[in-house]
Symmetry: C2
Subunit: 475 residues, 2 copies
């Protein structure tokens, strides 16, 4: 079969998930390797997904009172040393500019790995009185973290992201902001990306360098590993004290502000691929799919087929559906494979016999089911199906994930759980030694606290459990 | 008067235009200086203008078949040397990363000053056959050019821009693309920014390093100087040969592609300020103004005023007008100054007596005229006025500019012309010596060829004129 020769190009998803991932991202032209090791080029098909992600998130940020701005790429190296934990966390990964304009610089400059420091220095300048608070700014930009091992979208030296940075008069307000943004990320992940996520606080070991508390959202990939899909940090007064972010309060005294920061990145595209993809390639949820519907003519040279397809395309475009009419010379079978690999949610097939019968076939990429529908008013069917695909993809991913959450009472059970490709919930005494031991013996890390759950004993040392932790191997 | 004390904060636009510019950009919170010399922070009010510019341009790019993508920030230094003119033009301005991840790099990496080289290397990889052509990609990103003297928006080490890069099978197609994008820039500058521009070819001296031909658009600022507001380059096969951008043509032979590139940047915000601003501050055209209408209540505590204002705000929002209701504690006079300085196109004043009479005052920022209008259906009046402001600002800028274009037949006349704050049209023999002489003696540079115009003699050497050039001092 023609299908087979095509599908063979993608490695077996069950047998070699990492190679399957690489094959899919390259063959669908989402991304390519840049000339410098560890860099990626986000190609038009991948960037179109990012644009859809941006539009959805940006409207949510603005609806909650945030404004966009742009801060400099280059940060004086001395800024990093002002917050002790921060420099320890980021200095080893920084790319450094030492020469510019033909001269050696007096002070080396870091390419931002994240912007708490440079933004903190500006907030310190802008903030005078309690009346200036809260400050709620977001920026969309590139950041750089020099990594040893890299994979497109998941871990590259440069990536694109948004980073929100806010300053508040009280700890309560900054904490409320931190939790609000975490909730927005979760709602977005589930309703837009169709990826169910578990949100919760991170352990001291896993938190952001310089934060008081980090909250993450964890998504399960098809291999059972976890992908940290977004984080929201309550920074307390750590950066406020390091950068003198102070204000004159109502009571006439100078106070340090409380700050938060939160971000998601082009990693989300990696999450989309690994949460939904299958042996045929990508499976994209309609809300972020660059093309939501492709129309493939069958026996296009027969009278009327092209006209019917073009008319349908126009109708769908008027309803703001992102639609392509593939009227190229390739065979229908070749086109089916191509658009399936690209993850287009719906394919409409229209041939002379369909037109005679007033019918058209619609193929759903998520279920790979194909059905016949009335050609009249088919645009309404398309809208309904797009909604169904969006919802069903979330529910299907949720069922898949929920079936892979297990409980463990011992290190052996943790190991068995993660080796079986599960999220493992286990009691934890709260000490770093036990957390390190899990990592060393199972390659799983503490993803987040399982909020609201309790256990009697630490699965590692058997002492009293203070928390339940979700352990998983992670990207 | 309260007005006066406020206005005093901005330097006299007639006496000290550079200081006026600095005062306006800082006091309206468009921008601030970053911690590293030569860098800028684009603050929310400035960035909102950039977002409006992006949306307008992006839809034009997409409507003409371009897709967005993202290429790496870091470029191997060796790439620059592959195109001889290109390296000469950009190497002196490059910022260089020598260390990353705690180690010295084997090859130093340049932060992109422009991306012809790195994009060329990718096109070389992607392009196989004539069927893959044309490639039409744009990217929105940051770039870096290390400059000695810097001014916010006009010249900073880092700035934001878009750069389009296309590859074509023939020179004709690449030239057509170059001219199409120039035309799109002109239409955008005039209809969106309300800035009349002169487009035309640049001289060899002024062209982009590595281009066969550069076309620019030049806008007149209120001091009579020119600002290059955008450029479009026909690159011939220069980069195709340097980066092996080749394809198998229909005739079975390998051919080099022809490429183009084109860009505009956050400089456009500087152009907006200097083309339209006045002693009170910014004057923004409605299409890019972050706030198009501000409603200021008069005697807000009197019954009904706030309600009427809020209702009007809602109505305008439903009509997609970007509107603010300024119900803060400041006096109306203070608010008038503040919003005038910020350049908001329309101000609606509503007080108890206005409501009694079924009227409201509307102040137009561009003309500073204030009139009374019926409160009923005032939203329709607002839409009409916004349209008028947009059109009138262009016509007023055009009249101002057209009154400042003069002809010169000698070096003395060129000097007199540019010292009077004019664009000066003069015959030119075409030799570099005469062009350099104008620059040395008048500080004016050749902006663009005056397309379609002819002159008898070169204003500098008196030899036969080959072209008419527009000379001006420039930003």
């Amino acid at each position: 079969m023609a299908n087979d020769s095509f599908v063979e190009q993608i490695a077996d998803i069950e047998k070699d998930f990492p190679q399957w991932y690489t094959d899919v991202v390259l063959k669908t032209k989402l991304v390519d390797y840049g000339p410098v090791k560890g860099t990626m080029v986000i190609r038009p098909y991948g960037y179109a997904i990012w644009e859809n992600i941006q539009a959805e998130l940006d409207s949510r940020f603005k609806a909650t009172g945030h404004k966009n701005a742009y801060f400099p790429l280059l940060i004086p190296m001395s800024f990093f040393t002002k917050e002790a934990e921060h420099v320890e966390g980021f200095a080893p990964e920084v790319a450094v500019v030492t020469h510019a304009g033909g001269e050696e610089l007096a002070e080396p400059l870091a390419i931002r790995p994240t912007s708490e420091t440079v933004i903190g220095s500006m907030y310190s300048k802008w903030l005078q009185s309690y009346r200036d608070l809260p400050i709620k700014i977001n920026q969309w930009c590139n950041v750089m973290r020099w990594e040893k091992t890299t994979r497109p979208f998941l871990r590259t030296s440069e990536f694109l992201w948004q980073e929100g940075h806010t300053a508040h008069a009280t700890a309560e307000e900054a904490e409320a902001e931190t939790m609000q943004m975490l909730a927005i990320y979760k709602e977005f992940a589930e309703n837009v990306l169709a990826i169910p996520v578990i949100t919760g606080r991170k352990t001291e070991k896993e938190k952001f360098a310089g934060a008081v508390a980090t909250y993450g959202m964890e998504a399960m990939m098809k291999d059972g590993k976890s992908l940290q899909a977004g984080t929201s940090h309550f920074l307390g007064q750590n950066f406020a004290k390091a950068f003198e972010i102070k204000f004159l309060d109502k009571d006439g005294s100078q106070k340090y502000a409380y700050t938060s920061s939160w971000g998601v990145s082009t990693r989300l595209i990696g999450a989309l691929i690994m949460a939904h993809g299958d042996q045929r390639g990508l499976v994209l949820p309609p809300k972020v799919a660059p093309t939501q519907v492709v129309i493939v003519p069958i026996a296009a040279k027969k009278g009327g087929v092209v006209e019917v397809c073009e008319k349908l395309k126009e109708k769908l475009e008027k309803m703001s559906v992102r639609v392509e009419f593939d009227n190229t010379d390739s065979s229908p079978g070749w086109k089916f494979n191509e658009w399936e690999m690209k993850g287009v949610p719906l394919r409409i097939e229209i041939g002379p016999r369909d037109i005679e019968n007033g019918k058209a076939m619609i193929f759903r990429r998520d279920t790979c089911a194909k059905d016949s529908y009335d050609l009249e008013d088919i645009e309404k069917t398309v809208l309904k199906l797009l909604e169904s695909v969006q919802k069903d993809m979330l529910e299907s991913a949720r069922a898949r994930r929920d079936g892979r959450i297990v409980y463990a009472n011992s290190m052996a059970e943790i190991l068995k759980g993660v080796e079986g490709g599960n999220f493992v919930k286990a009691g934890w005494c709260g000490c770093r030694e036990c957390e390190d031991k899990v990592k060393a013996e199972t390659a799983a890390s503490a993803r987040v606290y399982a909020e609201g759950e309790t256990a009697e004993k630490c699965a590692v040392c058997g002492k009293k459990a203070e928390h339940v932790i979700i352990f998983a191997r992670a990207y």
